[in-house]
Symmetry: C2
Subunit: 322 residues, 2 copies
């Protein structure tokens, strides 16, 4: 494929993008008509939308178009999994500059497609328009398979807090890239292409999770959403979280306590869930804290005390491209 998006034209680009897609049995009607039709066997559909902007959520010199596609799909489908649902379909709204090489949106679509395949879903439709800033707007759909959705509001004092997936890897990779390095590769890769544990969402619902969320803004911040919605306090035990030795090495090299990445770093899209204390959790879940009653302390504490930095406001001036 040669040339720019502008040379290919709207319909040429749409043809190119849709030609790259695969399908699943849930896709009753894919791209090309006024709308797509997707199976919703549960008689309810779970839906979530996220927007990624170039320069704010990704950088073309740090991530390939393919990786941006993987990441955009992953962060949306992690939201579906965090409700206890199985991702089924994805719609893409894409803004591209006319002078952008047409390979960029094509490879983005490859990334969306491949991440969808990991989760058992498919891209079913979208819209492409010309504009100044590359903008990737994703809507993911999912099916609950007769489970009740696991909300943020069900945590009760006495419940345990557990996580599965990766924590702090993306933030450590971001720190590496920010300093102009390209390795250790595992962390850089984790930043470019998160691997949410999609299966863990429906599994947690089946285990009786009382509350659940994916970790997109950072563990403390996202547990704060559960604590606020549930009217409880959550205490995290710092000794219970996993800090791989390689992450400690990076922390030492760049002068950052790696606990900061694990507790405040977002974008790994781990799943954090709250369970009744008697729940027998499979080995991939790690209990990292417990649910307490309200107190004068912040909604989330670490080892019983306030934590330094509780979040990531995407409108804050300090939020740079990640």
């Amino acid at each position: 494929m040669k040339g720019t998006v502008g040379e290919l034209g709207e319909f040429g680009l749409i043809r190119e993008l849709t030609s790259r897609l695969t399908t699943t049995p849930a896709v009753r009607l894919g791209p090309g008509d006024d709308a797509a039709v997707v199976a919703a066997p549960d008689r309810r559909v779970v839906a979530s939308t996220d927007i990624l902007l170039e320069g704010r959520h990704f950088r073309r010199d740090w991530s390939t178009a393919y990786d941006v596609g993987r990441k955009a799909a992953a962060q949306n489908m992690a939201d579906i999994a965090a409700m206890g649902a199985v991702p089924t379909a994805l719609l893409l709204g894409l803004v591209v500059p006319a002078e952008l090489p047409a390979t960029w949106p094509a490879e983005l679509m490859d990334g969306l497609r491949d991440e969808c395949q990991v989760a058992g879903a498919a891209v079913v439709g979208g819209d492409v328009v010309r504009g100044e800033t590359i903008t990737v707007s994703i809507t993911a759909l999912g099916d609950l398979r007769n489970a009740e959705p696991v909300l943020r509001s069900g945590a009760r004092p006495g419940d345990v807090v557990a996580v599965t997936g990766w924590l702090g890897w993306s933030a450590a990779g971001h720190a590496v890239l920010s300093r102009g390095f390209r390795s250790p590769r595992a962390f850089v890769e984790a930043h470019r292409r998160p691997e949410p544990p999609y299966h863990a969402g429906p599994a947690a619902a089946a285990l009786g999770a009382t509350a659940m969320t994916d970790v997109s803004d950072g563990l403390i911040a996202d547990l704060g959403h559960i604590a606020e919605a549930s009217g409880v306090r959550i205490d995290v035990r710092s000794g219970a979280v996993d800090i791989p030795s390689q992450m400690s090495d990076i922390g030492q090299a760049v002068g950052v306590d790696p606990l900061h990445w694990v507790l405040s770093g977002g974008e790994d899209h781990a799943i954090a869930a709250v369970f009744p204390p008697e729940t027998k959790l499979p080995a991939r879940w790690r209990v990292i804290g417990e649910v307490l009653g309200r107190s004068a302390l912040p909604q989330v504490t670490v080892d019983g005390a306030p934590w330094e930095k509780a979040g990531w406001d995407h409108f804050g001036e300090d939020a740079d491209a990640g």
Copy 2:
């Protein structure tokens, strides 16, 4: 509400926007969790995404935020209706500059909400991020109520082509605004705030429509999509389309044949459908043409001959803000 989007902050803005919403019985879980949950009684969900950019699809000096919201919701839900489905829910992806007054997204949300209410749907979730260009990405969901989706591909030679809703009004309003005028008000209003005949989509499905689309790119262009998907030619009878006398007056004033607006103007989101010839159509449908077999002529002809300008490529250099 005072101040800018940046002063309000991400979470403040999301609180403000969600506080303005209403709900429907189909909304099982609205905004505030990782994802929304919407009833899909048909066991299938219809889904469509569109993006609107400031300067390209709307202008802040021509349209209020409220009108942009009405229009963005309308164009998406028209896509749902054009499948024969009933709109149920809408998700919003929004990019806003930090210096934008916070009233703008708030009034946009009011417009989305009110248009949803017209169609029986509700806004159930979304995402807001800071960026340079106001970008409104909408995903609409709908339910087929046990009807089969009406595709673009089912038109057969001998079928009749009919339309319902408004045709050319938005284009005439655009012509008026482009020349610096603000009246006639009915056409300017039609440009700012289209009124798709949502009910007509499911009604056409029930009447046995063999193909259907909404008119977003212009009648000739959108019938072209049906003709291409169905492998047929469609002939439109120019004498059968409705040109109100006031539209003729505007045409005379600005030196444009109003037939051009009716046949090539988009964004009114009328519904165009193809029916078996024996179908008894309700009075609101107007038969404007017929389906013929393939020939050497273009896929859509007017009075048996090629039509001057068959479309609107959103990537074309001549496509200005509308």
